[in-house]
């Protein structure tokens, strides 16, 4: 299966290809500051469209992650040094209400200038005109520095509607004491990740050890239903055909993948409170930190919360379970410019500054994210903390299926995700069979196109 980092198929690259890639990567690294529109030391330089005397008051909106707010404010201050007339205010996006928040602000003509958004969200706002095309503000070869699939996912109708800033993915959090107690040894590399049968057996043992449940899953409400998809793709299934329109889940692979996940709920291995609609961030984290489960499948971005609640010797990270292939969640963000921005040129220039190589490295290393520039993707970054765990996530990120990424960036994906949330939730609570679920998801996808 092709991954995000290798969109050329599943075949192993030849030695010559590797050398060619390495040379290209080295070249890209050397050219990166120029490509990214900054000086060699990473300080912003005026692009052709934005001079040092530019004047603008911009608003950037981001998720409420304390460390990220600090970093964006630092970038804003640095940009202001080179453009004294540009003031950038960093604002928080209300958690979980992104669509409502942005719809009303765009309709009212006062949306923030720069919007941090996800791969699953960008397609919709690119299609309906909420985000502007950035092509007039980018050099023709600007996208060369980014991972190919990331760059493709940032485009709609051949035009760039966001600049990829970082990615992140799922791994398996585990309690070290429970692993010791049951005598389980977490896999040391991707190839030896637990297969589905091993994982179910392990979860049963963990459940016995905790006396409550075995696994928590990183659902955080309706908007996160798509996080189940890696299990479909690792089982050889797919949600939609390559045309991006025809459902492809209503078959043996799809039904089996749904049935396997339903079994985790039926056996009480995942608590019923952790179904898609009923899950909240804090409640799911609490399942793990309070010892009610010994395993948790979730993303790297919550490591900070876990580290605050538990000392490092109590927990660690390993790879996601795998089946016919490995797969994991497509996480990460892009920065886009809203259609109501009065200074789109300055906004576009600032997001290029934020996503230049130096700042992407700083952002990822300090705030624990994974880069999307090819020059950084092949490098082991010097993360400010959790270095070993981030190394696991870095390797796991290479297993995000490109076909899944393509589906998740479709303009209609918000409606498709709602179909997944409705039908999978019914299935996981035991109100619907996997077969009916697959059929209903397929029907729902047909009706989800606008």
């Amino acid at each position: 299966m092709s991954s995000l980092f290798s969109s050329t198929g599943g075949s192993q690259p030849s030695r010559r290809a590797v050398l060619r890639y390495a040379a290209a990567a080295a070249g890209t690294l050397a050219l990166a500051p120029v490509l990214a529109g900054c000086t060699a030391d990473g300080a912003p330089r005026a692009s052709s469209s934005v001079g040092p005397d530019a004047k603008a008051d911009l608003v950037l909106t981001t998720w409420n992650i304390a460390a990220d707010l600090v970093t964006y404010r630092k970038f804003a201050a640095e940009y202001k040094k080179a453009h004294p007339g540009v003031n950038i205010k960093v604002q928080v996006t209300p958690n979980g209400d992104f669509n409502q928040y942005l719809s009303t602000q765009l309709a009212g003509g006062n949306a923030p200038d720069i919007i941090r958004n996800t791969w699953q969200q960008i397609g919709r706002w690119a299609k309906n005109g909420g985000f502007i095309a950035l092509d007039p503000y980018l050099r023709k070869d600007y996208g060369n520095g980014f991972g190919e699939t990331f760059w493709k996912a940032a485009q709609f109708d051949g035009k760039v509607h966001g600049i990829p800033q970082h990615t992140d993915t799922f791994g398996t959090y585990y309690s070290t004491s429970i692993m010791q107690q049951i005598g389980a040894k977490p896999p040391a590399d991707l190839d030896h990740a637990w297969n589905w049968d091993e994982f179910v057996s392990l979860a049963r043992e963990v459940k016995k050890a905790t006396g409550k449940a075995g696994v928590a899953y990183g659902f955080e409400g309706v908007n996160t239903a798509y996080r189940w998809l890696p299990f479909l793709y690792m089982h050889g299934g797919k949600l939609m055909e390559d045309d991006g329109k025809t459902p492809a889940i209503n078959n043996a692979a799809g039904i089996e993948a749904i049935a396997w996940f339903q079994r985790l709920y039926n056996e009480g291995l995942i608590p019923k409170s952790n179904t898609i609609k009923g899950s909240t961030t804090a409640a799911v984290e609490n399942l793990f930190t309070s010892g009610q489960v010994g395993l948790m499948l979730w993303g790297d971005w919550i490591m900070g919360d876990i580290a605050k609640a538990l000392p490092q010797e109590k927990w660690d990270i390993t790879y996601m379970p795998r089946d016919k292939s490995a797969a994991s969640d497509l996480g990460g963000n892009l920065l886009s410019v809203s259609k109501t921005s009065k200074n789109p040129a300055v906004a576009a220039d600032f997001i290029q500054f934020v996503c230049n190589e130096k700042n992407m490295r700083y952002f990822c290393e300090k705030d624990l994210f994974l880069p999307v520039r090819t020059s950084l993707m092949k490098e082991q970054l010097d993360f400010s903390s959790q270095k070993e765990q981030m190394a696991v996530f870095s390797k796991q990120a290479a297993t995000v299926p490109a076909a899944m990424a393509k589906v998740e960036t479709l303009p209609d994906f918000a409606a498709i995700n709602q179909v997944l949330a409705d039908q999978l939730d019914l299935c996981f609570i035991g109100s619907q069979t996997p077969k009916a679920t697959a059929a209903n998801i397929a029907d729902g996808i047909k009706g989800a196109g606008s």
Binding site: Q100, N128, G129, G130, S273, K277, S290, I429, Q432
Partner: protein, 325 residues
């Protein structure tokens, strides 16, 4: 000049021409004063209601009118729409999830309205007596009403969590089995009803309390002297006199319940499955998740029509009740 313009003044100035006696200067002053008084009388009410009328027009009537127009259009998140006639209404009536949400709304309304009014009445009757710390108790019962619905809901989520919630812990401590309050489709609706009732009884209690204190005590004393017991005094005097308040609470609570959103949105997200998806939540997801503003407006118009119909029915019932009384 003014008199010429005003039809009222015109009638007045015509009167002397009819040959009525009296000095024109003296007699002319009085009609002018009366005319001014009438003008002021007709102007004053408008002056008083115009600020709220403007607010209602801008924030209620205009959005309703726009929603009605949108309901006949296929319109996405923003931008122009295309006219589709009654198609949105046709889709609404043939969508199973719409009817599921209607049914859930009915269940939710029936579960919350009589319960909160009954408990509110019971508390009001109890707190209408002299009790030590009565003021404090009244404030405590009213407290949930002034706390944000979202904050209350978050606390409820923790309390009713089936893995580590305090409610299940209590049930287990007295030997009862755990209940999957929020993760079972059979229990989730009851749980949100409990949360809403808890938040609403303070309002019902205060309203009933005000009404109880408006009842003339001599009526109850006279009944007591005539030998009426506590229940008889309540059922034959207090309860009938509380009728207008009960009607008011019924209407307000029905409106609150039909418009319920925040508690359900936070506590269950409409799940598990669709077990707590009510009409307003269905409107919300149609508008902001599916991006179908026209369709969502059609469902919104349906809700407005239902609310208007209920208000008219209530008004007629109240009038009949007053006539009978």
């Amino acid at each position: 000049m003014t008199e010429m313009v005003s039809p009222v003044a015109g009638r007045r100035t015509a009167t002397p021409r009819g040959g009525r006696a009296g000095g024109p200067a003296k007699r002319g002053a009085r009609p002018r004063r009366e005319a001014r008084s009438r003008r002021e009388a007709s102007f004053a009410p408008w002056a008083f209601i115009s600020p709220s009328l403007v607010l209602f027009a801008v924030f209620a009537f205009a959005p309703i009118a726009v929603a009605v127009v949108l309901s006949f259009q296929d319109v996405q998140v923003f931008g122009g729409g295309t006219w589709v006639g009654l198609q949105n209404y046709q889709t609404m009536l043939t969508t199973p999830l719409f009817w599921t949400s209607v049914w859930n709304t009915v269940v939710f309304t029936l579960g919350t309205v009589p319960t909160s009014a009954a408990i509110g009445l019971l508390l009001a009757v109890m707190l209408n007596r002299r009790l030590p710390g009565r003021g404090l108790i009244r404030s405590l019962y009213f407290l949930p009403m002034v706390v944000s619905g979202v904050a209350v809901s978050l606390v409820m989520v923790w309390m009713f969590n089936s893995d580590n919630g305090i409610v299940d812990a209590f049930l287990q401590s007295i030997g009862l089995p755990r209940i999957e309050w929020l993760s079972s489709p059979s229990w989730a609706m009851l749980t949100v009803i409990l949360a809403v009732v808890w938040g609403r009884i303070g309002f019902c209690m205060v309203t009933y309390l005000a009404a109880l204190q408006g009842i003339n005590p001599s009526l109850l004393e006279a009944a007591e002297i005539d030998g009426a017991g506590a229940w008889r005094r309540f059922s034959s005097i207090t309860w009938p006199l509380l009728n207008p308040t009960t009607y008011l609470l019924m209407v307000l609570n029905i409106v609150f319940s039909l418009q319920a959103f925040d508690v359900i949105y936070v506590m269950t997200g409409g799940g598990p499955g669709f077990s707590t998806t009510v009409l307003v939540q269905y409107i919300f997801r149609s508008a902001f998740t599916d991006g179908k503003m026209g369709y969502a407006s059609a469902v919104g118009v349906f809700l407005v029509v239902v609310l208007l119909a209920l208000t008219v029915i209530r008004s007629r019932l109240a009038r009949k009740s007053e006539e009978l009384a």
